[in-house]
Amino acid sequence: MAGWLKRVDGSGGVQESFITPQKFEKAEPFFDLESKRKLECEFNECLEVFLKQTSDISCFRPLPPVIGEGQEVDLFKLYIAVRKRIECGKDEISWSLVARDCGFDSKLGAALKLVYDKYLDELNSWVRKVVCNIEDENIEVRDTSVDFSSLLVKLESGMKEFLSLDQVNIEKDVDIVKFSDDDGKNEIMELSVDVKSVDPKLRDGNRIVNANVSKNQCGDDRVKYEDLVSRKRKRGCYMGMLNWVRKVAKDPCDPVIGILPQRNTWKHYESELEWKQILLAREAMLLRMNATSQQSIWQKKQLMHPSLYDDQYSSEKLRSSQRVVFAKDSSCNTLERLNSESSFSDYQGDAKRIRVGPLFQADLPQLLGSNYESDSKWLGTRIWPLEKVEQNKTSLIERDPIGKGRQESCGCQFPGSVECVRFHIKEKKIKVKLELGSAFYNWKFDGMGEEVALTWTKEEEKKFEKIVKSNRLSSEKYFWEELFKFFPRKGREALVSYYFNVFLLQRRGKQNRDSTLGIESDDEESEYGPVSNRFGRISDISPGSIFRSPKKSRLN
């Protein structure tokens, strides 16, 4: 692990301990791990010397070579895979199979061929030539020699031994690789096959999440998948990290994961921590990928769930945007949806899904039947009907029949005028007060409607109106802050009450009566801007917000 981190930090040399020949583990009974590693070291040594000697400035060959989406090519693996085929006497090498052997998508075969030609082909012919010469001329090789050709000879003999043993497994080997080949799900499987591809996958958080979700939901797949993992790798060293990534992907908000510290404080944490290893690895991957561009990776898109960071960078809510993305994806024809069956494989990632797990579902209570008891507090406090004593007092009053509406006409001089309406409301209120008795105050009817203004002075009302209206002109102002400042003794509740019971009501009343004004709405926001936080305003709306509704013509 240390070696890996070192490599990732950019301080490591060539491949060294970085390359763990996982694939050959299957050959374990035939070729023990130790000698394999030795062989690999020899190979790396040869390669290094070879490249040093052959490359010049015009033809620079960086190590390790990178193909596809930044996946590193394990040259040793590649060399073995190709040699196997040459040994078999195949004229035509199937590069897509080679790619699979090396743990890549078969589409990357062509790229691998190029890498092979550039890096290894020449080496291979050198090796052969040297070995042939030695064999032909029967020159003894001195053990202590650091001579390049002797290195090659040593490598070649080791290689031959290895290949002869591994040959038996070649068919089986390919079979297992096929396992991870059915499209769609192989993303996550590749992830388990080759640690190096963890990072490229991380870049695409969505994919991992989706694969995980779908896996989570299809029990069968999961079994297959776990099985595969155990077959693919017996070494546990990366499993912890993988599990961690998987856990994060499943639920970024899992309290177990906690909050990740800001990047500039990472150095204070031990490198044993899983998150740190992963994030460092990812950073290294990105740095290399972006080596050509000048832009800092931290100016680019956030790559993990923002809630993982305890920082200010997460203005882009990845999860939120997913909602919109998925929603858009799924806005395909309803009829199409109707005709497709709900199989998890057929539309994973197509829409936002309901999550399954102990963090999401409720724990159901047992059925109690007649043993059912409840805290009497749930029954609440009875306000109506009134207690018997009070009932007798109020029951004498004549009541309107239930559901009765407004009178057709009234005797006021200007029916429908503000004064007329005020009068009738007052009239009705007095009646209701008699009918309701104590409930009138329990329900705070005295705090409903324009009556609320009675505790306000004319000056206060004018000032209130002025402050709210000034907000209209300047979008930067939050009138609530102004109101609090100006009416420190009124309190939040009284101000809110006045706003809804008097201010908005009166404004609407004016609009109702004056056709020239036009009715804007009783919705304050049509005038007073979009969303706000507390009594201030939020500057922008994230894509997954409920406020994002399709444009529609406003009625009214």
Binding site: Q361, Q366, F445
Partner: protein, 514 residues
């Protein structure tokens, strides 16, 4: 509007229900923030309107007691509830990382009194469930509840605490199965998620789908594991009108009621599916919206009515006031009585306003497709549960139908239901439809049903009708058996033995599932 489907004897569903209504006079003064469309003030407007229509006279009005932290933790994660209790507009800067974790801050702002607001509306919803459990009423109403987006560990879409889930959990203490119906324009994702893998709660959500919050609610999402087919989603498009809506709502809900036979129904009446809503895009009239209430009420199963969305507040008050009258079974006049907020309702000053002439993007073909698909799901659900209410089903009858593990599991659960229903039936004789119904169906079988069906107006779902007429007949003799306390007690006694039976069996079911 066709209401014949499930009418009670008096023809227009006139029989009275005992209604409890929860209202806290403080609720109107909670304020999400400047320009925020969610305005608790709408509950106060509704209350004023109800009062002036004289509707309160005919029901029990209760002030809810606030739910405590431990009550909220029956569903929500401890740390989330602790956070809600602690956070204030002034302390939110210190809790920034938690704000993100719990998705609080943007759609769901931190405002003064946030926690007590949650306590209040949740207290009302759980209170309603308790009232129903005790049989104190037939319909409980809490317009301040219905915050269906809230998740176990996070807030979402203006919702912090999911009072619906908590209320359903309370109902599950006395009811084997609870049905949740959601007519908010947004998908009822929080409730669906909470009960996604159980068959004890069936969720049915009618909502706008496609490029719309919260993004879930695909017709192909039908529940998982044991809960497969116990979550239904009805995805709709812009501009749906009353007729189109009911062409789905009624047949689907009829079938659901027939197949699932819930002990209680929770109906979330989000009013943002009304025409002209600030955040919505449907074109329902208040009557069309309330038709859903009328229809669910007609099944005569304990009913909890909750609020929800609704952002053009004058229409929200109109809608919930009218739906309260529907719950009571009284008609109220279109011309609004004088009330404190009458100017909000101008210039029409009427209860009902005409929907707009916006285009209905839901084609006939699409609606037919959705209906067919959902009825198909329900038939799969019926496949096993049709066994449900037969007593002592002969083993051989099912051996061939036992195609896969899924069905097998469902059947086992269902068998225990049969016993429960049947035995309690025998003990109580008649009372609620929930109990009466199975009896009728058990004994009569298909032939009898056909016979009955001939007597009733035949519609799309004929078995439905036959069942109703049976119920109607039963209920007729005994005017309001449900209201009588003695009856309730009797029913509870009857439940005793089978309840034990079920509790004992449930762990085994769980193991089967594993």
């Amino acid at each position: 509007m066709d209401t014949s489907g499930n009418s009670l004897p008096s023809g227009s569903d006139g029989s009275k229900r005992k209604v409890c209504y929860f209202y806290d006079s403080e609720v109107g003064n909670y304020y999400y923030g400047q320009g925020h469309p969610m305005k608790p003030h709408r509950m106060r407007m509704t209350h004023a309107l109800l009062t002036q229509y004289g509707l309160l006279d005919h029901m029990h009005v209760l002030k809810p007691n606030p739910a405590r932290e431990k009550d909220l933790c029956r569903f929500h994660a401890d740390d989330y509830v602790y956070f809600l209790r602690r956070v204030t507009p002034d302390s939110q800067q210190e809790l920034l990382k938690h704000l993100k974790r719990f998705n609080v801050g943007e759609d769901c702002p931190v405002f003064d009194g946030l926690y007590s607001f949650c306590q209040t509306y949740t207290g009302g919803s759980i209170g309603g469930a308790v009232k129903l459990n005790h049989g104190h009423c037939d319909i409980a109403i809490n317009w301040s509840g219905g915050l269906h987006h809230a998740k176990k560990c996070e807030a979402s879409g203006f919702c912090y605490v999911n009072d619906i889930v908590l209320a359903i959990l309370e109902l599950l203490k006395t009811h084997e199965r609870v049905l949740y119906v959601d007519i908010d324009i947004h998908h009822g994702d929080g409730v669906e998620e909470a009960f996604y893998i159980t068959d004890r709660v069936m969720t049915v959500s009618f909502h706008k789908f496609g490029d719309y919050f919260p993004g879930t609610g695909d017709i192909r999402d039908i529940g998982y594991g044991k809960g497969k087919y116990y979550a239904l989603n009805v995805p709709l498009d812009d501009g749906i009108d009353d007729e189109s809506y009911q062409s789905l709502f009624k047949p689907i809900m009829s079938k659901v009621m027939e197949v699932y036979r819930p002990g209680a129904v929770v109906l979330q009446c989000g009013a943002d599916s009304l025409s002209g809503d600030r955040l919505g895009c449907f074109n329902l009239s208040v009557k069309g919206h309330a038709e859903c209430v009328r229809f669910m009420r007609s099944f005569n199963v304990p009913l909890l009515l909750l609020g929800g969305g609704g952002y053009t507040i004058r229409n929200v008050a109109r809608c919930w006031c009218y739906e309260t009258s529907v719950a009571l079974g009284v008609e109220i006049e279109d011309k609004m009585p004088q009330n404190e907020y009458i100017d909000y309702f101008g210039p029409e000053y009427t209860l009902h306003v005409a929907p707009s002439n916006m285009e209905n993007k839901n084609s006939r073909e699409m609606l037919d497709g959705i209906r067919a698909k959902l009825l198909d799901y329900l038939s799969k659900l019926q496949h096993a549960p049709s066994v449900q209410f037969q007593d002592n089903p002969p083993e051989t009858q099912f051996s061939e139908e036992n195609e896969d593990e899924d069905n097998k599991d469902e059947r086992i659960v269902v068998d225990s239901d049969v016993n429960l229903d049947y035995e309690s039936n025998a003990a109580t004789g008649k009372a609620k439809m929930e109990i009466v119904e199975p009896e009728a169906k058990d004994q009569n079988d298909v032939m009898a049903i056909d016979e009955l069906a001939r007597e009733v107006e035949s519609t799309v779902i004929d078995t439905k009708n036959s069942k109703d007429s049976t119920v109607a007949g039963e209920a007729d003799g005994d005017d309001a058996p449900v209201y009588q306390d003695s009856n309730v007690a009797g029913e509870a006694d009857g439940d005793d033995a089978p309840a034990h039976h079920v509790t004992e069996k449930s762990p085994i079911d769980e193991m089967d599932q594993l």
